[in-house]
Symmetry: C4
Subunit: 283 residues, 4 copies
Amino acid sequence: MLIEEPKSKIDKIRQRIYIVIYGTNTKAGKIFDIFLLIFILLSVLAVMLESVQYIDEQYHAFLIAAEWFFTILFSIEYILRIFSTKKPWKYIFSFYGIIDFLAILPMYLSFFFTGSNLLGSIRALRLLRLFRVLKLANFIGEATNLKAALKASRAKIIVFLFTVLIIAMVVGTLMYLIEGPESGYTSIPRGIYWTVVTLTTVGFGDIYPQTALGQFLAMFVMITGYGIIAVPTGIVSAEFAKQKGNKTKSNPEKTNIACPVCNTEIHNENASYCYECGSKLKV
Amino acid sequence: MLIEEPKSKIDKIRQRIYIVIYGTNTKAGKIFDIFLLIFILLSVLAVMLESVQYIDEQYHAFLIAAEWFFTILFSIEYILRIFSTKKPWKYIFSFYGIIDFLAILPMYLSFFFTGSNLLGSIRALRLLRLFRVLKLANFIGEATNLKAALKASRAKIIVFLFTVLIIAMVVGTLMYLIEGPESGYTSIPRGIYWTVVTLTTVGFGDIYPQTALGQFLAMFVMITGYGIIAVPTGIVSAEFAKQKGNKTKSNPEKTNIACPVCNTEIHNENASYCYECGSKLKV
Amino acid sequence: MLIEEPKSKIDKIRQRIYIVIYGTNTKAGKIFDIFLLIFILLSVLAVMLESVQYIDEQYHAFLIAAEWFFTILFSIEYILRIFSTKKPWKYIFSFYGIIDFLAILPMYLSFFFTGSNLLGSIRALRLLRLFRVLKLANFIGEATNLKAALKASRAKIIVFLFTVLIIAMVVGTLMYLIEGPESGYTSIPRGIYWTVVTLTTVGFGDIYPQTALGQFLAMFVMITGYGIIAVPTGIVSAEFAKQKGNKTKSNPEKTNIACPVCNTEIHNENASYCYECGSKLKV
Amino acid sequence: MLIEEPKSKIDKIRQRIYIVIYGTNTKAGKIFDIFLLIFILLSVLAVMLESVQYIDEQYHAFLIAAEWFFTILFSIEYILRIFSTKKPWKYIFSFYGIIDFLAILPMYLSFFFTGSNLLGSIRALRLLRLFRVLKLANFIGEATNLKAALKASRAKIIVFLFTVLIIAMVVGTLMYLIEGPESGYTSIPRGIYWTVVTLTTVGFGDIYPQTALGQFLAMFVMITGYGIIAVPTGIVSAEFAKQKGNKTKSNPEKTNIACPVCNTEIHNENASYCYECGSKLKV
């Protein structure tokens, strides 16, 4: 088995950048991650403050400057991520790659569409990196458990959601016919909207039944909603209860670095080769 | 055991139609089912759009035409279903048979009652066929599990609902007496309506207590509602947890065709005779 | 062991009345119970309709007459219940005895206090008898299970409620100080009322925060409420799950008659003597 | 092992005060605790009533007097607590010590800041002492169970809350862009506030979507909220179910006294020496 070794100077630079950006258990990687999170938080805050009218009026220039600062910073980071990994396309179309791209896009779009920079709040999604940075075994373990529980009960939840939607359609139509536009049920889609608001026990109160018959049907819908709230809870509870036996503590000290070639996360501390593509790991 | 064989030409046609309409695992049957679902979705969409005033004003003629198109299509399908099965009355009074009939009724009623065509949204119920069409083992299996869990906890749920209704009556009366018509509690039934809205944690806010005593009682009702929300959840959760042992994966490749004589769904792939009426199956 | 036998004629009448009123498994007792439930439902309906202004205006005389009819009927039943049982005081101060008395009281009070007849809706509580009339083993069994589950988790629930109340007091005060009377938080008790409305996810919307700080605290309260909704559910779910092993089906054919002396309900079909007081049972 | 014995007269007084104030299983200690709880309740009530305008207008002088009375009383208690324990700093910076200090602070602050006495409602936190006073084994046991269940699922809950916050940020931004200021979504933070109100199914109705697109997104958010309400419930339910095996009834008669030196609570009835600092216990 032949492993290609870095030869040129550019390859060495690429490798160093890679360790800083993708690595989370080297000192440089840790510092990089912490600064990245702080910058993400600040950039989201800037977008939020810009949307508040009286703050924007006073500090508009400063906030725009801050946004450009963060956008350029994140753009450099994005380019370095593509440059330093050996399979750039894999990164670009990965979950985090798409989020990273969406995070810098709005500001550039604001040249063409006014106000599109406010979409920048989508950067909040980048905070999902926090999970990788925290690197705490039980946090990652728990997230996996949550995911497994949700995945195991996926079919049950789809059946459930589908039933809820059919109920919403039928009840929405009936409410539209019973109450009519005077009570705010101006169309069947609005009736469906009201039914979902009621079934989920949110109850905004922007639309509500005013006839005796409508209120009677509403009571029926509410008690049904109250009853079926039990179904997803029951599904997920049972799933969690089932998992308790299988749960195994993962090692908190495990190496949490991505493979420089195929970008697969490596979980085995002593791994020397990527288990996906077989290329040598340089930790 | 003597099995009657199709003899006349009309019997052969009937049999072919049967396989297309009722069968879900022949190629023709699959194509038919997919088109049927698309037509149901489009017809429901047409009714919904018609109810939205500004869309209806612009495309009224087109939407009415679409509705008539779907109604005639579904009417033909309904007649063919009756024609092709050997026990038409069983189909007519079956769950799906009644839904299929209700789905075509509103349009014909619109000759006599203006606006009754809007009831056409009831066609959404036909989407329940989706479960049969999907034919995916775990979907069907999960639906059965859900049904079993709900059935097993039926008695508990009835006791629970009954208790909720008695609480609603007593609290509704008290709120009517405490708050009076000025706060919107114009009658005891409205008080009961408010109590159900509150107990189920929907809280529209169309009626709310305004006196100190009324607010105190409301707090009591809300905390009670918060507490008893636990009861149906607990019941269903326990039921799901119980089922985990018994759960057996059903065969995803099983034949999902109905008996041509008695309309019973046949689940055994290798079945040659209907287990209900003993008539020969022609798959 | 000496058992006193009925001697006088009045004792025989008393005994017959007892079997009709208290017995639920004799033919006469069953008919009596069904009529009683119908009368209770009708009497509750009469009170409800009387509270609806436009119905009351049209049928006032009829509704008042109906209420008097039911009140006199229930009064006779109440007197007969006291007369026919051997330990009248035990009945009078029993759960059902008090409800039966409260059910006839409002109408007589209406001589002194106008409108007190509307309290008659409290008769709805008499519908609790339904559980005894239904006599179906699993209904009674399930009610017992529900009761047992709630009893077992009583201490946990009290701790929980107490914690919720302390949170409500502290948050209510903070909201009153932050938002002030302009936003509807006119006093600390109203702040507490709002906190309970929010923590229980009811959310009427009659009072809501309008300052940025208030909304921030509200978000915190809501997420807390969302989190702690899990606590009572978890408690009751665990309790139900625990019970599944112990659950034993009770006999659906069991004799459900009360002892004529001490009013204890007898559950053993073949019992000849009351297990509480030893007096002979005359079924 | 040499144990220091109280020698001076002041030490004897200190010891007697200690037993009354900290002890909960001596007669004097019990009476003290009950009076303390009554005074706490009355003082909280006084603050609440003062905040109600029309009550304050009539009884202002009386309520202020009552507050001063309780503040001085609690101040004396606070000083005696510091005086009687051997490690005063440990008490001062303990959970209860800080609450006790915060409970007396607002009234003294009212010399400098008008209205700060209304913060006095924070005294409600002192009611947490109730748990120690009740001293009932199952109450304490259950509180421990609750705490253990919440602690065990802490990591899962943090992952969950974090996910909810990221959803709120992204959805809040989208709603702000879709609906705009006309519908009440005047800024991104307000959009986030609305998303939290909706996801938690509180639904005040102060802000609600008015465009078709906004209502469609709202429906999506609500159904999501309905689905994820299952997650914390499932987590805690599973935790409670797990605990059922480990649960051991603690002894209701156990000595519930704090060590006079280091203030550690002693749970072993027969303990003669504090297990923390080794000083002799004088029960």
